[in-house]
Symmetry: C2
Subunit: 317 residues, 2 copies
Amino acid sequence: VARAADVDDLVARAQNGEPRAVARLISLVEDESPALRQVAALLAPLAGKAHVVGLTGAPGVGKSTTTSALVTAYRAVGRRVAVLAVDPSSPFTGGALLGDRVRMQEHATDPGVFIRSMATRGHLGGLAAAAPQAIRVLEAAGADVVLVETVGVGQSEVEVAGLADTTVVLLAPGMGDAIQAAKAGILEIGDVFCVNKADRDGADSTARELRNMIALGREGNGDPAGWKPPIVKTVASKVEGIDQLMGALESHREFLTADGLTARRRKRAAAEIEALAIAVIRGGFTTPHRAGQLDELAGQVVAGQLDPYSAADRLLG
Amino acid sequence: VARAADVDDLVARAQNGEPRAVARLISLVEDESPALRQVAALLAPLAGKAHVVGLTGAPGVGKSTTTSALVTAYRAVGRRVAVLAVDPSSPFTGGALLGDRVRMQEHATDPGVFIRSMATRGHLGGLAAAAPQAIRVLEAAGADVVLVETVGVGQSEVEVAGLADTTVVLLAPGMGDAIQAAKAGILEIGDVFCVNKADRDGADSTARELRNMIALGREGNGDPAGWKPPIVKTVASKVEGIDQLMGALESHREFLTADGLTARRRKRAAAEIEALAIAVIRGGFTTPHRAGQLDELAGQVVAGQLDPYSAADRLLG
């Protein structure tokens, strides 16, 4: 268990950009250390300085490859970059799969890059609460850009939009086409669209289809006036189109005036606070007494003696 | 608004298998009608009679086509079948996409089939609470089998396992391969695996890879002793392998002894009760006073004056 003085020291060292201190702080967040609240209190005034970019899309579209190529592009213009690869909701396997880490190896020796996988399984408040806290650690450590990539699918597909200033939705021709993206509910969350693997057949028709569906889906959705989500075609594995993608991200960041950015972040903070509050309440259900009561009520529901609404009332009452 | 006497009548008519009464009751659930609690109370003793089968898998694997083919297979052996197509978590577009309904048209005139799309967007307690209630309606109406299919991706991918007695995980060669399924956390939830589009290249290797990953992933996962999840290859669009798939579902249902089935359902009911209880509390956050307080706290977090954990305490306290 980290002591209070240790935490002070860790935050100070993270502010100096020491990778081990950054890693340790994120572990404290991830593991829900008892020191979490102290970490959070120390980080609060240090956050809000980076451009937080979320990358989302179906498995196989090339999120990791694109993220890695973006890191190179941002480094080439002198930005300090942090990557947070969030392993979402698999309730069974903790930790990110190795493949994604391997693809990031090329940046392993660059002191201007910090890469971290994070499991949010079972975290108090889930992704909605754990990831923002990790982002604050990375901001405190001086990242100019934080790329938040979700590993795999899950609720995180949509949730990642709630974490980011700018959300990139990735598609690839032929596999996760525009209609599937629409089904997944991720068309509406994109500030920037990226058709990756654009050297494959069907890239143009995917982009065209996408453009139509975006126009359709966004009618009356209250987009900030004037922002039309661009569609960028990339071949991340060959570093094609990546500068254009970075350019689109920068344009969106510039488009978000100070007011627009604050409004997004305020909404984000509200969701985070609510997730934490609900987690506190949910935690109350796991005490032995309440857990026993819940199991008893569940037995009555299965037996048809009680309906679940009445059972919920009894659990709360 | 449905009156109390109307609801009594609706439930009685649904028990007689009248499709309009069934549809109306599910609408009451979906719309969170004030009559919901009365509906729930009336349904409680009528539920638990059907085999609830969940179908999950990445977009594009052919869930709807497989579901439709399964309906035909179950009808051929005289079962009454209900399909509940759950549109998960898109916070933007209510209602299921048309395409899925179209594929089900062939069953539209069969009185032994009831098909219903259901949006759970914004539902009190989400999918976890809305879908079980709809399943009870279908059971009350005399369904022998309820096929629960999720439309698109989202947290529902994993959540659907919590709704079903038997969960089918669908994959297709080359698009949502076994590694991607592992990433999505859906390998562990399958009682039966289905490699659909098995006439495509790579079907055998997908099945092989899947078999290896299942063996790997399930070690020590507390599976009911003796059940080895079978892998069935299908070409649903050509109705190939569907009888084998149905056979695997039946085998799993038989494998679940009365005790095993009750244990699964009890766990499911506990999750449902908890989701409803949390929804009641979350509802409390939306009163004008509390919503204003939350927004105020979020502003302080964005400004770096307060950390989110302390903000959650203040919201609750």
